[in-house]
Amino acid sequence: MRYLPLNNNDRKAMLDVVGVASVDDLFVDVPKSAIIDGLIDVPTHKTEAEVDAYLTAMAAKSRAAGAGPFFIGGGAYRHHIPATVDHLIQRSEFLTAYTPYQPEISQGTLQVLFEFQTQVAQLTGMEVANASMYDGSTACAEAALMACRVVRKRSKVKIASGLHPHYTATTENQCRLQGITLDIADCAPGKDAEILDGLDKDVAAIIVQSPNVFGEILDLEPYAEAAHAVGALLIAVFTEPVAFGAIKSPGEMGADIVVGEGQSIGVGLNFGGPYVGLFACKQKLVRQMPGRVCGETVDANGERGYVLTLSTREQHIRREKATSNICTNSGLCTVAFSIHMTLLGEAGLRKLAMINHEKACILTDKLTAIDGVELVTDTFFNEFTLRLPKNASDVVGDMVEQGVLGGLHASRLMDDQDDLLIVCATETNTDADMDAFVLALEGALS
């Protein structure tokens, strides 16, 4: 077996040192009834070439996003990732290291985390960020829990109508078991502001997404003001970090905690995972923050270095009193995010964002020129929502037949919005892709 360095002579010699006759004697503590003699019922080993061929054939049964016109967003976005990113994250020293618990021989990972935390803080307009959560949805759930720790004696969280429904579901599931009440608005476009009705002093936090799941951009300032007026926190959520190269950050508009999905930068679609949850907040809240965080210090010679810090919040020290149970986080995806962000830089990020916005503007004009197709979202970044004169799910299916992955029917995510189609355009879409989309939609609607 190509991965196993021991041979039978080694094994024999080692068993002698241990002082047992056979390897079976090493399993003496296992109840006899539970020992498997012989082989378990799965196929035997395969060569590298065989596995490669087998999985390549399996992969070919999926239609890759890049194989044709592709316009799906809804919480995961297809962007071009520079080749440098994937090369660097495959370096052994990043790929095959564990969590940097021994800082003297983990400064590579630690410095990248410190840079990552700063990049996330700058991008979101917040003071501090942690070293990542699993993804945007679990970051959102953790933010709700954190808000209820910060705003003592309150256990109600309100969710606006534009939060991604999968984020809502994830958050609700985690909060419910801890006795936190969620007040969840039905998911619908143009109704986020209704969250401000009846905001009272029971509320620990309001959760608002911008750009929201329909693509609408919200001015978060009135939300922050209203929340703060009743002593509650504003948790701002995003799923498309590239947007912050074009629109004001939630921090600039008064958010207390900002959480979202970082997948767009450096990570790729991956059929939903691994992704990277971004988590940022105000400095004064940091001791209630979940997850790992890296901080600056000095070594015994006074040289600057980095360590994981504030671990008295975490499960390995605090156990049942920890702020979260998270241990392994998104590690290598934070490295990918950070490298991609460094390659972009501020100028590159702004340009990337404007190209995305332009593509979306051009595509909206083309699609709304089709009879009966109406734009639902007046403001948007790279994702927008259309109302179709037909069931959107049927239309999506029809377009697949024409080779076009033409957006996301809202009914995949929510009830009662059967005629809404959520469409995303990024820098990866060409003019030809857009023309194919227009033709396919016309075809599906005719």
Binding site: P5, T44, A59, A65, I72, R91, F271, T309
Partner: protein, 514 residues
């Protein structure tokens, strides 16, 4: 000297340095590297874009006008920055990484290759199901392998890591009790030796924790366990093999006892690497168990993640499994996302779990097959026992006897030397090794948990053993200063953790805060 709650020294004592300062701050191959914020500028970029067309903005007047504060680098500068940083890390590919409980086995590169196939990597989680049949098939096939290897009827693929898998299992247990109206069942038994994620998870699910002590053999104290049983017990969270690296030999009786009071058995499967192909947890009476694909099935740890924590469930808990999950209907793979009309406790993440890790893990399973998996397990257990036996005279095994995949030592052999576990670990760094897990499990004083994995050759282990013996002898010879000064040959000397925590500096700033 200050300590954190694990009893680790957190600030360096006065030590003698090298004194040999270079002009550049570099030390030969070890290059000093500043932060991107100190070397990059906002205008520089390593990505080229086409020109903008200049359309009218529809951003609703919310344009970002103020400076964002993100430095950029060109591609060659970026390459150097990260390559230099990478060289300050230790890694499995460099040497023995015997971090107990973390299973730092070799990460095959075939797995990296297949995970990047466009049909797995470049597919969107919300693509129409008909266009992602290959991806769904992979999830289905992985599920079959996992169910067969564990002997369990169902698996939830959603969990994003081990701790998330614990959450999945404990949420299913909570849902099962809630479904029966058993809202008095809120106490969860957790051995003192458990990983911190276990108690943290139980509390996140609205349970209270009741600790059970270990006996002098490092296993659950059965009398203590029996004394804690009662009608309010929701279940137990037990790691097997446990965090001392020992098989819980009474496990079947424990399962019966827990079931006897109407509770469920959550097994922490972080150490499944010791059992694959030889023992099926399903034969031991468990109800739920997460696997760490990033341990047992070799998906890379990546400096702290991402992981993947598929969670197997018994017939009693399977109906409560989270969405989404895959099912095969007449040659077509379906992804079930709806919970209406089911007992599913719902959704625990936005999408379908860690697809990238699923591909790598299945590639590992296919490569090994039934014979290779069994051999890998046996080699992992043999390597650990070889290390334990070889070091039993110079160091002090915590329990002795046969261990499973990891060998646990206490700090008795350092008594009176002035050298502590932390110092010993730092001296290993100078020898070119990553230290073992220290001060975990908490039930063993000054614990040193060594997990060699099946990836080490005998020759490599022999060198490691020689070094460990040499260090133990040196400690006993009274040379404590040597250990207190370590590491000398790492990119940095010991770091001041107390300072980092007291005045946290968690980000770069242009001006240091007043």
């Amino acid at each position: 000297m200050s300590m954190n709650t694990q009893g680790r020294q957190t600030s360096p004592d006065a030590v003698t340095g090298f004194g040999h300062k270079t002009i550049s701050g570099n030390r030969g191959l070890a290059q000093a590297e500043k932060l991107i914020f100190e070397i990059g500028t906002p205008r520089r970029s390593g990505v080229d874009f086409p020109a903008l067309k200049g359309v009218k903005s529809r951003l609703g007047g919310l344009e970002r006008t103020a400076e964002i504060g993100l430095p950029g680098l060109t591609e060659p500068e970026t390459m150097r920055h990260y390559v230099r940083l990478s060289q300050k890390n230790y890694a499995i590919d460099m040497g023995v990484y015997p971090l107990g409980s973390c299973t730092m086995k070799h990460n095959p590169r075939l797995n990296e290759k297949v995970a990047r196939l466009p049909g797995f990597a470049d597919v969107h989680p919300l693509q129409p199901r008909g266009t992602v049949q290959g991806a769904l098939e992979l999830m289905g096939e992985l599920s079959d392998w996992i169910c067969t290897l564990t002997g369990m009827p169902a698996v939830a693929l959603s969990p994003k890591a081990g701790a998330h898998g614990e959450l999945c299992g404990m949420m299913a247990i909570r849902a099962a009790h809630d479904a029966k109206g058993d809202d008095h069942k809120r106490r969860v038994l957790v051995p003192e030796s458990a990983h911190g994620t276990n108690p943290a998870t139980a509390v996140q699910c609205g349970f209270t924790i009741d600790s059970i002590p270990a006996n002098n053999r490092g296993r659950v104290d059965m009398d203590a366990l029996k004394a804690k049983l009662g009608d309010d017990v929701a279940g137990i969270m037990l790691t097997n093999p446990n965090t001392c690296g020992l098989f819980e030999s009474d496990i079947i009786e424990i399962a019966d006892l827990i079931h006897g009071v109407g509770g469920y058995f959550y097994c922490d499967g972080a150490n499944f690497t010791a059992l694959v192909g030889r023992v099926r947890p399903g034969d031991l009476g468990i109800d739920a168990m997460h696997l760490n694909l990033h341990k047992t099935f070799s998906t890379p740890h990546g400096g702290g993640g991402p992981g993947s924590g598929p969670t197997v469930l018994s017939d009693a808990l399977a109906p409560f499994a989270p969405v989404p999950y895959v099912v095969k209907e007449q040659d077509k793979w379906k992804l079930v996302e709806e919970i209406d009309g089911t007992d599913s406790f719902g959704r625990m993440t936005a999408f379908h779990g860690q697809m990238g890790m699923f591909v790598r893990a299945l590639s590992y399973m296919l490569s090994h097959g039934a014979d290779g998996l069994k051999q890998a397990t046996e080699d992992a257990v043999l390597n650990a026992n070889y290390v334990q036996a070889s070091l039993s005279e110079d160091m002090s095994p915590a329990f002795g006897g046969i261990c499973m995949h990891e060998a646990l030592f206490n700090d008795d052999f350092l008594k009176g030397t002035g050298v502590e576990t932390l110092d010993f670990a730092k001296a290993m760094i100078d020898e070119g090794y990553h230290p073992m897990t220290m001060y975990f499990p908490l039930v063993v004083k000054g614990a040193m948990l060594i997990e060699p994995t099946e990836s080490e050759s005998k020759a490599e282990l022999d060198r490691f053993i020689d070094v460990m013996r040499g260090l133990a002898k040196r400690a006993k010879s009274g040379d404590a200063d040597y250990f207190k000064a370590a590491p000398i040959y790492a990119p940095l000397r010991r770091l001041d953790e107390t300072r980092a925590a007291r005045k946290p500096v968690l980000r770069w700033r242009k001006e240091p805060p007043a």
